[in-house]
Amino acid sequence: MGYMIINNRRYEFTDEKNVLSVIRKAGIDLPTFCYHSELSTYGACRMCVVEDERGKVFASCSETPRDGMKIYTNTPRLQHHRKMILELLLAAHCRDCTTCRKNGVCTLQKLALQLGIHEIRFENNKPMLPLDTSSDCIVRDPNKCILCGDCVRTCDEIQGIGILDFAFRGSKMQVTPAFNKNLSETDCVGCGQCRVVCPTGAITIQENVTQVWNLLADKNVRVVAEIAPAVRVAIGDKFNIPKGENTIGKLVAALRRIGFDEIYDTNFGADLTVMEESKELVERIESGENLPLFTSCCPGWVKFCENKYPDLAGHISTCRSPQQMFGAVLKEEARENREDTRKTVLVSIMPCTAKKGEIKRPEHFTDGEQDVDYVLTTNEVTRMIKEEGIDLKMVEPEAMDMPFGISSGAGAIFGVTGGVTEAVLRRLLNSNKADVLQDISFTGIRGAEGIKEASVMLGEREVKIAVVNGLANAGRVMDRIRAGKADYDFVEVMACKRGCIAGGGQPVPIGPRTKKARMDGIYKVDRTAQIKLSNENPIIMTLYDGLLKGREHKLLHNQK
């Protein structure tokens, strides 16, 4: 508590953990590369330097605010330092901005413009290193790395995996997996959170845009899209649409213009997941076997569990993820429907990079056939819309196609942490009464905390639940389960902090305000949905009586 004098103006501070936060709260956006409020403070980039009245220059991210502190944020000395740091960073940087995947959204580029760096006086004598394109999810370009360590700390602190770290030292320092392995040879789960924090083009999304354009141009192919819940509250980001606004109608209209033949909702797939997963939970509770049940919607989490907790992997639900359930149903429908002679190709539009890996997992194939053909992230679709010359903001909204365009609010909330649990609880308590729905939402499963616990009475039986987001948190919960110190019945895990809304394929930056806006946006989709329960989705019920009859296991669960 106290006050600080920043640039001769007085500002109050309360519990800010560093001077930088106070400065930013005062409305001054000091540049940084290596500072993220959710990560530990690293103090490497030195862009946030400030000067005190005695002329001492220090990094504001690593200094605790003190009462009466007097600082300046933009003196000629500081300007000189910042420019020099930036010039040196740029000198050792592969500056092919026009062909860089990060062109236009690169922090380095943005600051070079902001600080007016027009000339680099030093030669780049770094050898060019090969790109790592081995992962299905992300691409690593070490030549674009500025060694801020954001990815290193994210992978270690937030995700608890630690695939990337610094190696070598001095001018030879690199960020790399151990022994310079390719990402595909490591335990990388593909969550893409390193890409979310990377300020440059060093870590980017593995793109499939070209393949999809070619399919769209092919008249012999029926191209179907499915859109995940969290995409609709993020796709507007790069079109000047307020953060978190649900733009599903506009997105559908834009995709139709781009040439997608049919556009459906992954929320529908989520409704199917709710049906199957709640059935599985009830079965396991009744038999008392194989508890707790772990959710299986998040491919990052599934891979994490298999890699780090193979002994507990049997607890993962046998349900396919909403994306895969939708894919299996759509492809089965296409096989049944003989009228359309065109080949059906399914493109799934996801907030997630790990989904690109999920579609290739053989247990998700139906009779040996891959159900989802391509995954495009929100970012890639943003680019396609721009490439088509469409301004999403100006597009008149349109409705999804039938029949798989109808979904419930329970399906929609799959995009945030706690959503899967809430949807399953709605199904289990099976009531659409406002007070019951409200009770469920207040059990403690909503909100941004990393590990949430709740307990719900299901008849006579108390069902104990853990809702986890962030894989490091998942590791903590798993350690407790392994040690026999936790007796949950149901554990929901989403690999990314706050769930899919902050997924690895979403538009960046994703700061605390963006996350909140997107979470609110998802809950708004649910609030404005007429159907709240998955089992009240009329299409779901017809599907169970028709196409799915006797085939639930083949289409909706993992195949061995």
Binding site: D156, I161, G162, I163, L164, D165, F166, A167, F168, R169, T176, P177, A178, F179, T186
Partner: protein, 158 residues
């Protein structure tokens, strides 16, 4: 794939230091002393045992010049190129050794695994400059010809 004895020995070394992350450096030093290099497989194994990520262990091992992932020769020759040795003409000694052994800055170990040639920044024996060591035995006041003779002698021993 390394022989099981390597892992048994590593377990022994880990046990002697305690399986905690702070012991990483002493453990890998001991492994390197044992085998004259740090096998990548063993580094990964140690990381797993200490509960740190492979990338973190790799980060530490690559930070220090002293750790080598490549098997080293029977005789590790370290030519000092600290300031004192450098001004007393250590480079001609190094160059002579490079040409005698057919090595270079990039290729530091002979194919017969007899010699590894490295430079070090200072051995702390500046009074004896120019100096080199073979497996930690110090050879003071060297000349290129002394170095050639030394190689012949070592080849004879081997």
């Amino acid at each position: 794939m390394l022989d099981q004895t390597y892992y048994d020995k590593t377990d022994e070394i880990i046990a002697s230091h305690g399986a905690e992350s702070a012991s990483l450096i002493p453990i890998i030093q001991d492994i390197q002393n044992e085998y004259r290099y740090l096998a990548p497989e063993l580094l990964a194994y140690v990381a797993d045992k200490l509960g740190i990520s492979e990338a973190k262990a790799y980060s530490v091992a690559t930070f220090y010049e002293n750790f080598s992932f490549e098997p080293k020769g029977k005789y590790v020759i370290k030519v000092c190129d600290g300031t004192a040795c450098h001004v007393r003409k250590s480079i001609p000694i190094l160059e002579r050794l490079y040409s005698e052994l057919g090595l270079s800055k990039e290729k530091v170990t002979t194919d017969d695994m007899l010699f590894t040639l490295e430079t070090v920044s200072c051995l702390g024996a500046c009074g004896l400059a120019p100096v080199l060591t073979v497996n930690d035995k110090v050879y003071p006041k060297m000349t290129p010809d002394d170095a050639s003779a030394l190689i012949v002698e070592l080849r004879g021993e081997a």
